[in-house]
Amino acid sequence: MKTIRSDLALSRILDALEADLLAVSADEIQAVAAETGMSAKALLSDSLGFMKIPSPLEGEVGDAEHRRVGGMVQPSRRDRKGGDSTPHPDLRSDLPLKGGGA
């Protein structure tokens, strides 16, 4: 039995399936999108950073990781360089208390 190189096999499959996706009609895409019960806008909200589409989870509790402003994902607090962040109010609890405390 002839052995096919795995990378070649995958490449051929992906090329053929990609050609199918390129050729599929707009009607078929819209029909599949409709099956999901979500709008195209919502379906695209996780895709294109340059689009000004809010995440479907925007405003949800715990959404800090996914929140976007102007369509761009915001850097996390730990990724920010010094000088451009305002101390979080919670950090005050780390300051020494007036009068010494305990």
Partner: protein
């Protein structure tokens, strides 16, 4: 005759034209791009997501690194960039590992490419397994996948597995639908 060298102005015009074309993409075409990016991300290491692939393709189209040949639609153009990016990713890893690639090819796997290293082979086998799993339970789809992997034409696949033209076409349609369903579903990368 020497091909005309693109002037800076030509490049700027081409980039502006690409920006207009991207801005004018319909939501349907963007869903198509998302499905293609998800498909192309098969075979990439887990630290490279489909949205990275798509955004990098858009960035390259917009900065003029890649220019759209005349007569090629913007979706097909971006799909081509994603294909090359996926290929470049592995070439870069090979270079970083000190394995030199002498094939000179810049897209897709080729029989002249060096055999994949064990890390890539594992990712490829996982991708093939995921695709197989996607169509599990659909014998005709599995047969078509095997035929595509072997580089057979539609006619050769039909003959090899005894599929009628109608069976073949309806199976490809089912496969396309499934790929689309999986490709456009909302999921944060």
């Amino acid at each position: 005759m020497q091909p005309r060298r693109r002037s800076e102005q030509d490049t700027e015009d081409a980039v502006a034209e690409m920006a207009r074309a991207l801005a004018g993409l319909s939501q349907t075409d963007m869903l198509r791009l998302k499905a293609i990016a998800r498909l192309r991300a098969h075979g990439l290491p887990s630290d490279a997501s489909w949205s990275d692939l798509l955004n990098e393709a858009i960035a390259r189209a917009l900065d003029g690194t890649r220019q759209c040949p005349e007569g090629i639609g913007v979706v097909a153009f971006l799909a081509g960039i994603m294909r090359r990016l996926a290929s470049e990713h592995w070439r870069r890893l090979r270079r970083e590992a000190g394995i030199f690639d002498l094939s000179g090819a810049d897209d897709g796997a080729d029989a002249t490419d060096p055999a994949p290293d064990p890390e890539r082979n594992l990712v490829i086998l996982q991708a093939l397994a995921a695709l197989d799993q996607l169509f599990a339970g659909d014998l005709a789809a599995s047969q078509i996948l095997a035929g595509l992997a072997a580089g057979l034409s539609a006619k050769e696949i039909r003959e090899t597995y005894g599929l009628s033209e109608t069976d073949y076409d309806s199976t490809r349609k089912r496969m396309r639908r499934l790929l689309l369903r999986q490709g456009i579903a909302w999921r944060h990368p």
